[in-house]
């Protein structure tokens, strides 16, 4: 291993689960952050503390605990606003997940701005979460879906993407960072949308903790991510939307907390962001997400990105040298994710084999079945990195891969 420029963040100790022994003796090597990130102590302790010392419902009562809970919930919103560099807290809607955020946009945007025959542009590399909510519009309302092709590098074919626009194109929804290839969306895709005055939603599930996000600079109209992939709890997600669009679109769900005034004849709706937050929100989880953002800020997102880029490049080069490994996507810049197959060995076998070596990787279709079909495989193995990983772990992984190949081809 070349140690010369290793940026060791030395944060493994911050993550209690990483001291767990797999099958009682193997050190855990967690290479499945893209599925869900592990949680640092601060997130675990602070969510505990919330329940122990501050918990009540939010924005409902006037007693001390309600005030303390509301403060934490709204403080988390401020942290998210800064994290994404949104213009205002009104642009930050808490959801239960990125998935819910996409469903919200699909439903509410359709209701306000679309009709039968209108078109949505997606791409071949989308996660099922960024496909099915739009399939609903196709099935229920006759909306037309178009899919941008991808190049062998794993990037969207920009020319093809550009050619899909018509005067019926109402919205575009694309992944910001592919959960299969780790490739970042070409900025041109966003500028094309700007030029054509078509709103674009970015699925930021994989980018939120692995790229620096500035929604204003990006110029996207919507951005969604999930707390659990950014070192925070599951059950909390974020939808960023421009105040203009969020103001014009109708609410997604009805319930407590999202109303202005209710009589039996009807209701008026609350201002942003409450308008989109019907019912008791995942308040403790929101707080946990805020703490996770604090954690990333403390280490420094630049440091995290540099660290992950170094590991990704190192792992890519190691895998690229091995003749029995097939890497999916090109050798262009990737962020924290590499999908591969061992020739003639199913990814399930790879994953089970590595599991008993203490190495957690993902095997399967990664909720991207249309992409798998395009790649001509029915599943891949996927490595994904987080702040706590190291080059040394990659070395151990590579040794285990050789053992795995030997075992199945004996």
């Amino acid at each position: 291993m070349d140690n010369s420029k290793t940026l060791n963040l030395n944060v493994r100790k911050d993550f209690p689960i990483l001291s767990k022994k797999i099958l009682e003796k193997k050190d855990l090597i967690y290479f499945d952050t893209a599925a869900s990130a592990q949680k640092p102590n601060t997130v675990i302790d602070e969510t505990n503390d919330f329940y122990k010392n501050h918990y009540s419902n939010v924005s409902r009562g006037v007693h001390t605990l309600s005030v303390e809970s509301t403060f934490r919930y709204e403080d988390a919103r401020k942290k998210v606003q800064k994290f994404l560099n949104a213009r205002s807290e009104n642009e930050i809607i808490f959801t239960k997940s990125a998935t819910e955020g996409i469903n919200l946009v699909a439903q509410s945007f359709y209701e306000k701005f679309m009709q039968k025959g209108d078109e949505v542009i997606l791409s071949l590399i989308e996660h099922h979460s960024n496909l099915i909510p739009w399939f609903f519009l196709r099935d229920k309302y006759g909306v037309v879906l178009k899919f941008a092709n991808i190049q062998s590098s794993g990037e969207i074919d920009i020319d093809h993407f550009n050619s899909l626009f018509t005067n019926k194109t109402k919205i575009v929804s694309l992944t910001h960072l592919s959960n299969v290839f780790g490739t970042e969306l070409n900025e041109k895709a966003i500028s094309i949308c700007k030029d054509k005055n078509v709103p674009i939603l970015l699925d930021g599930c994989q980018s939120a903790a692995h790229l620096k996000i500035d929604v204003q600079k990006l110029g996207c109209d919507f951005f969604v991510f999930s707390g659990h992939k950014t070192y925070g709890p599951a059950g909390i997600g974020v939808l960023y939307g421009t105040e203009n669009l969020l103001s014009e679109m109708p609410p997604y769900q009805g319930g407590g907390g999202m109303i202005g005034d209710v009589s039996l004849e009807g209701a008026s709706y609350a201002e942003l962001p409450a308008k989109y937050e019907a019912g008791t929100p995942p308040l403790v989880e929101a707080h946990g997400l805020g703490i996770a953002i604090d954690y990333m800020n403390k280490i420094g997102l630049d440091n995290i990105i540099e660290h992950e880029n170094e590991i990704t490049k190192y792992a890519f080069n190691k895998l690229d040298e091995i003749d029995f490994i097939e890497i999916h996507g090109g050798d262009n810049k990737r962020n924290s994710i590499i999908s591969f197959n061992i020739k003639n060995v199913h990814s399930h076998e790879v994953s089970s084999f590595l599991d008993v070596e203490g190495i957690a990787i993902r095997a399967g279709h990664h909720c991207c079945q249309p992409l798998m079909k395009h790649l001509g495989v029915n599943s891949t193995a996927r490595l994904s990195f987080g702040v706590y990983n190291s080059l040394e772990e990659v070395d151990k992984f590579v040794i285990a891969l050789h053992k795995c190949k030997e075992f199945f081809n004996k």
Binding site: H346, S347, S352, V356, H365, M372, F407
Partner: protein, 144 residues
Amino acid sequence: MNDLINDLYQEIILDHGREPRNFGECEPHNKSADGHNPLCGDSLKLTFLLNDQNIIEDIKFTGEGCAISLASASLMTEKLKGKKIEVAEEIFKDFTNLVSGSDEDLKVLNEEDSLYALKGVGGFPMRVKCATMAWHAFNQALKD
């Protein structure tokens, strides 16, 4: 090598995974069903011919999958060919118990059986679905 891995991937499993028996489509057939594991995308198609004495005369499958799912389907077809439906259903029940880690109340399967090789799946709960995919397809085909 790790015991769990050796238990999971016994020689017979690797062998049937690499070269599945009864691979193809039964012609003619009067029963068929698709098996699908939505978690990973593996799938298979099972066809068989049930004669008028309720005996499975021939049974075959095609599909894509991991070694466990292919080996399980392959071993299943070997086991079920020539069996009466009632017996096949008993085997199905036993097999489901076996791979979920309980081999105590087995009625028809015993340690001599090739299907026993799949017992190691019990050590990998997430892989149980791989081992049962073909069997669920079989069960489905009987219901249809």
